[in-house]
C-alpha cells in the first residue's frame, strides 16, 4: 500500500525567488524519513512539493520530477486533488475544523471528497481514531467539538483525519513542535506504528526526535539568507548521526553550526 517517492532535479519557487534548488532523493516505502536543517532552508517547502500543496501558496511553482511509484506528480494531466488523496499531510499546528465535531473531523476527508459508503463511515472513524491512539480518550464524546481537545489530542485528531482517507504517504511538518513532551512521545510512538502501513516523511527541528523515529535522515542547508536551500546529504539515520559524509552535517548535528 505504501508507495516510494523518487524526486529528481526539483526546483521550487515563490514567484521569482528560488527557494530550493536541484533536489534529488528517494524516500523508501514503509519507513520514516526525517528532514533536518536550519530554519528557512526549504524543508517545509520541499515537503509541500511532495503533495502539490506548494502551489496553493500564491506565486508558488515547481520544476522537476516527483515520481510516486511510476507516476510523475507534476506530469501533464495530473489532478492535484487526486495527488493529495494519495499523499496526506499533518501540519505544524493542530488545525481541526472548528465547526465540526470530533467524528465529523475524522470523517471530513471522506465526506467532502464524496467517496464513501455511509455504512462504512462509523468503522473508518473508529479505525482511524484507534490508529491515532485517540479512540479511548474520545470514544464517549465523538459528537463534541474537536477544538475542545487538548493540543496533543488535537494533533492526534489531525493525524486520524489524515489517515482516514487511507493515503499512501503521510507528510508531517514539525508535528510535535507545538506540543509538550508527553504528547510528543505519544505522537512519536504513533509514527512508529504508522510506518508499518505508510511511507512517512517528517520535518523536525528536534535532532533527538529525528534520531528516535526515523530510518533515514536528510540534511538540508542554505549557503546564506536569500540563497536557495539545498539537500546536503541523505543517508541512514544511524550514519548521519554517527559518521556523516559531509562536514556541514556533522557541524549542524553537534551544534557547531553558524
Amino acid at each position: 500500500m505504501a508507495k516510494r517517492i523518487d524526486v529528481s532535479g526539483l526546483n521550487a519557487y515563490y514567484s521569482n525567488f528560488l527557494a530550493i534548488e536541484d533536489i534529488s532523493m528517494t524516500v523508501e516505502p514503509r519507513s520514516v524519513t526525517a528532514f533536518i536543517g536550519p530554519s528557512g532552508c526549504g524543508k517545509s517547502t520541499f515537503l509541500r512539493t511532495l503533495n502539490r500543496m506548494h502551489e496553493v501558496t500564491p506565486g508558488g511553482r515547481v520544476e522537476g520530477k516527483v515520481m510516486l511509484d511510476d507516476e510523475n506528480l507534476y506530469g501533464a494531466g495530473i489532478d492535484p486533488v487526486a495527488v493529495r488523496r494519495e499523499v496526506g499531510m499533518v501540519f505544524q499546528r493542530p488545525n481541526p475544523f472548528p465547526t465540526m465535531s470530533i467524528y465529523d473531523n475524522v470523517a471530513a476527508g471522506l465526506r467532502l471528497a464524496g467517496k464513501y459508503k455511509k455504512s462504512e463511515l462509523d468503522g473508518i472513524v473508529e479505525k482511524s481514531l484507534k490508529g491515532a491512539n485517540l479512540w479511548n480518550e474520545v470514544k464517549d464524546r465523538l459528537n463534541k467539538p474537536g477544538s475542545g481537545l487538548s493540543g496533543g489530542q488535537q494533533q492526534r485528531l489531525c493525524i486520524a483525519r489524515a489517515i482516514a482517507v487511507e493515503p499512501k504517504v503521510l507528510l508531517m511538518d514539525e508535528p510535535c513542535s507545538a506540543l509538550d513532551p508527553i504528547s510528543t512521545l505519544a505522537i512519536e510512538d504513533l509514527i512508529g506504528e504508522l510506518k508499518e502501513q505508510f511511507t512517512i516523511v517528517i520535518v523536525t527541528h528536534n535532532m533527538q526526535q529525528a534520531a528516535r523515529v526515523s530510518d533515514r535522515t536528510a540534511f538540508f542547508n542554505l549557503a546564506a539568507v536569500g540563497q536557495p536551500g539545498k539537500l546536503i546529504e541523505i543517508d541512514d539515520t544511524e550514519r548521519i548521526f554517527s559518521n556523516p559524509s559531509v562536514q556541514a552535517t556533522e557541524d549542524y548535528i553537534s551544534g557547531r553550526f553558524g
Partner: protein, 352 residues
Amino acid sequence: MSHATVTPKSANSLHGARLPKWFPWAVAAASVALGLGISTVAGLDSSIQWALIASLLFIVGSYAVAAAVEGKRQAKDRTATSLVWVAFLMAVIPLASLIWETVKQGVKVLDGFFLTHSMGVVADQEPGGGIYHAVLGTLEQVGIAALISVPLGILTAIYLVEYGRGKLAQAVTFFVDVMTGIPSIVAGLFILSLWIIMLDMGYSGFAGSLALCILMIPIVVRSTEEMLKLVPNELREASLALGIPKWRTILKVVLPTSIGGIVNGVMLAIARITGETAPVLLLVWGTSTINANPFDGPQASLPMYIYLQYSNGSEAAYDRAWAAALTLIAFIMILNLAARGIARWKAPKTGR
C-alpha cells in the same frame, strides 16, 4: 536574619496611598451638583450646558484629588478612565434619549389597528388610519433587494478572497469601494433614469429595490470579505491536503466557519437599507392605499410614510409619523437581535 530586616522595608515601598472605591462616584456626584449649581446661578437653562460643566469638573476634580493623594501617575491613570467614561456617556445619552422620545411619542397611536390598516380614505389631518401599506411595501422592497444583493454580494466576496488575483480583483475591489460611497439619492437617480425614463417601466416597489441593491451590495461584499479573511489559512490547507476540492473546501469549511459573521453583516446591511428614504421617494412614488404587488404601480414604505406624515403637519399626522418611526426602529432592532442570535448560535464551538 537578613530577610527579617529587609522584608518590611520592601513591603513598605510597594505600599502607596489608595483612594477608596467610591471615590469616582463621589467626584461624579459632586461635579453634577456643582454643575447644576453654577448653571442656576449663571441663569443657564440648557441641560447640555450644565452637563458639559459637570463633565469638565469631573475630569479636573478626579485628577486634582488623585494627584494630591495618590501621586501623579495614578492621577493620569484616573484621568484616562474618566475621559473614557465621559466619552461613553456622551455617545450613549443622545441614543438613549432618541429611543426614549420615539417610544414616548410613538406609543400614542401604535396599536393593532394602526398596524393592520392603511391610510385608505382617511384624510391626512384626521386621526385614525395606519401603516399596513407602508410595512407591506418596506418588507417587499427590502426583501427583494436582499434576495438580489445577498447572493451577489457573498459570491463577489468569495471571488475576491478565495480566487481573485491580479487586475480583475483589484478593479472589483476598487469599484466596491466606490459603490460604498454612493449617496442614496444618486443610486435613486441612476435607477430613475435607467429603469423609469429610458426603459419606460413606471413607478414600482421593484424599481426601489433595484436602487436599494446598489446600496446594499457593497456593504454585503465588504462585511463578507472581512469575515472570510478571518478564517485561518491553516483550515483551507488542512482541507485541501485531505484531497478535498477547492469549491467544497469553501462550501464546507470556509463558509461554515465564518457564517455567523456573514449573517451578521447581511442583517446590518438590511437594517441600513430599510431606513433609506431618498431612492424610495424617487422610484416608488408612494400611495396611501394597499398595493401588495411590488412590480406594478406605486407602493408605500415606512421611511417615506414618516416623511409624508411629517410634511403634512397636523397633530394626528405627527402622531402617526412617530408611531411609524417607532415601528421602523423596532423592526431594525429585531433584525439586529436576530443577527446576534444567529452569530452566537453558529459561532465555532470551543466547549468540551
